[in-house]
């Protein structure tokens, strides 16, 4: 057998133990935090779990070296990107279902917590910024790094999100 081909073939026969082990360690350390972050993005526990699972599979398949220090940001960015993709796909499916007269899609119960409801009503980009800023206590720079956008974008998103939340919560307190 051509040694070069044999090496390549054997190279894919077994998943790299070290990569899986390392991912397993990160899973132990980060899973709960990532699950909460995904939940804050989606507002749906089941969708959050699927999202994080997809993210770990994506991280494994990414075939690139990820340092432990950068894992947290990279994982969150993967979750945001997957959520964006899924949002488009689910949106298309929902439109197809509505067109077919079956508008039943994953639908979580309407939240009764008014602040929470206002947060979940934010556009997904703004919600991601708010979650990272207020729950994860990240700076604007760290939020920008995590989302893969500029600091200016984060500032703009945060400004819009806070204006929306003030209006929503202000209207509630007035009513």
């Amino acid at each position: 057998m051509n040694p070069a081909i044999a090496e390549r073939t054997i190279g894919v026969l077994e998943p790299s133990k070290s990569r899986i082990d390392r991912l397993g360690e990160w899973f132990s350390a980060e899973y709960t935090g990532l699950l909460r972050f995904a939940y804050f993005l989606t507002g749906d526990p089941a969708a959050a779990e699927d999202l994080v699972q997809d993210a770990f599979v994506r991280l494994y398949r990414a075939d690139r070296h990820i340092e432990a220090a950068g894992f947290r940001a990279y994982a969150r960015r993967t979750i945001v990107n997957l959520h964006r993709t899924r949002f488009r796909r689910v949106g298309a499916e929902r439109r197809a279902l509505i067109a077919s007269g079956s508008p039943e899609e994953h639908r979580s119960p309407e939240p009764t917590d008014h602040v929470w409801r206002a947060i979940l009503a934010l556009p997904k980009g703004q919600r991601a910024c708010v979650a990272l800023r207020f729950y994860e206590d990240l700076s604007e720079q760290e939020t920008a790094l995590t989302l893969g956008v500029s600091t200016g974008t984060v500032k703009k998103q945060m400004h819009r999100a806070m204006r929306t939340l003030r209006e929503a919560l202000g209207e509630r307190s007035e009513s």
């Binding site: 077994e14 397993g24 077919s100 039943e104």
Partner: protein
């Protein structure tokens, strides 16, 4: 309180909405393992093509003998031993059905009759658009549906779907609404034949025949009818015994036809095996009975029977189809008193649904299962039927919807 504090507190309040599930890492490991298998196959194919190219090319170049490149298939030891990942819900279709079949490019579901006021319907669903494209009137008490590329078959019972209600209270209908097996032409969506059959229950297709379980009128035991699909003639009558039998499920395997025989009052159910070459039956297994009747499926060289286990009401009993040996039980952790309603095979896995509304996915090679997927609402709606087809798994839920899941 400032708005910043309100937002922070809202996040903190909802931290506990999600919790880390014990099997989550196993799911991920399973998916990573599968992705590796796919890569391995791709690499094997690539290397194989290279080898073929070498074999073809080298003799043309000279006298050098070709050296085949050996790319081993995945060995049992390289197979992932972790649990499979959970299936993903893709969509739900508003349709209240209790039985499902896939065939003739469509998904077929049996709707219950509305209080016996009018006959029930067989609905036809386009799996691509998820639209109900036809509604075909069948009997008042349909029992089961089976489909292949040529026809769809529906059994119509005599008044009670499961023969446990008092016969005196059963409404009376006339043939063909009762005691019949209907044949539906998928080209026209019309009933093209109604065969008079006493007490038909389940139906399956295979070995060029329609197999129908019935309650034998004379004995009260289970009798299997083998019907020619073209002529509608009963070509064999196969008595399986039992007394006052309840709903008998039937499944077609690679080499045999499998039937469950459950007599009222017995703690056990028999699994009978029919040789299609001789139409002779033999007892293949005996399983415990729980609060739900055992269902049977065949696939991956095995027979899979729903049964309770000592530890759980939801378990699968498995044995080799060819010799009834190499038995094993796969417990699917669940809480009493309810158990599994149905089992099927397809899309690379064994699938079972429970009265609790769980969908279980079992790897037939490793016999490991994924954590259950909850189907329906909470408190649980029972999942009544499961079928695979068109690269998806379809579950009939008591919530009045058919759930479509990606395996």
């Amino acid at each position: 309180m400032s708005i910043d504090d309100e937002i922070k507190k809202a996040f903190t309040r909802h931290e506990s909405d999600v919790r880390s599930r014990p099997g989550a890492w196993s799911d991920i490991e399973g998916r990573i393992g599968r992705s590796h298998r796919r890569r391995m196959i791709a690499a094997g194919l690539g290397a194989g093509l290279a080898a073929v190219a070498a074999i073809v090319a080298i003799p043309k170049i000279g006298s050098q003998q070709p050296q085949p490149i050996l790319t081993s298939p995945p060995s049992a030891s390289s197979r992932p031993t972790t649990a499979p990942s959970r299936p993903r819900v893709v969509a739900k279709i508003r349709a209240s059905v209790f039985a499902l079949a896939a065939g003739s490019d469509s998904l077929w579901g049996l709707e219950s009759a509305a209080g016996g006021a009018k006959p029930a319907s067989l609905i036809r669903i386009d799996p691509r658009t998820r639209n109900v494209v036809a509604r075909i009137q069948v009997g008042y008490v349909p029992g089961a549906v089976a489909a292949d590329s040529k026809a769809i078959w529906v059994t119509n019972g005599s008044g009670c779907r499961v023969v446990t209600c008092a016969d005196a209270s059963a409404p009376t209908f006339r043939f063909p609404q009762q005691n019949s097996v209907m044949k539906i032409d998928p080209a026209t969506d019309r009933v093209v034949a109604s065969l008079r059959v006493e007490g038909p229950q389940d139906v399956a297709l295979g070995f060029g025949s329609v197999w129908v379980t019935t309650t034998g009128k004379a004995t009260g035991g289970t009798v299997v009818l083998r019907i020619d699909p073209d002529s509608g003639q009963v070509v064999a009558t196969i008595p399986l015994g039992g007394s006052k039998v309840e709903f008998a499920h039937v499944a077609v395997g690679d080499q045999s036809v499998l039937v469950t025989v459950s007599s009222a009052g017995s703690q056990f159910s028999e699994v009978a095996q029919i040789d299609p070459a001789t139409n002779k039956s033999s007892s293949a297994a005996r399983v415990m009975r729980g609060s739900t009747l055992p269902d049977v499926a065949a696939g991956f060289g095995s027979v899979w029977v729903t049964t309770p286990d000592q530890s759980t009401p939801s378990a699968l009993f498995r044995f080799d189809e060819n010799d009834n040996l190499n038995t094993s039980t796969i417990p699917l952790p669940d809480a009493a008193p309810i158990g599994l309603n149905a089992v099927t095979t397809g899309e690379g896995y064994v699938w079972a649904v429970s009265a609790r509304g769980y969908l279980w996915k079992v790897d037939p090679a490793t016999r490991k299962h994924a954590d259950p997927t909850t189907i329906g609402a909470t408190p649980p709606d029972p999942a009544d039927a499961v079928v695979t087809g068109f690269s998806y798994v379809w579950v009939a839920s008591g919530d009045g919807q058919i759930w479509q899941l990606s395996p």
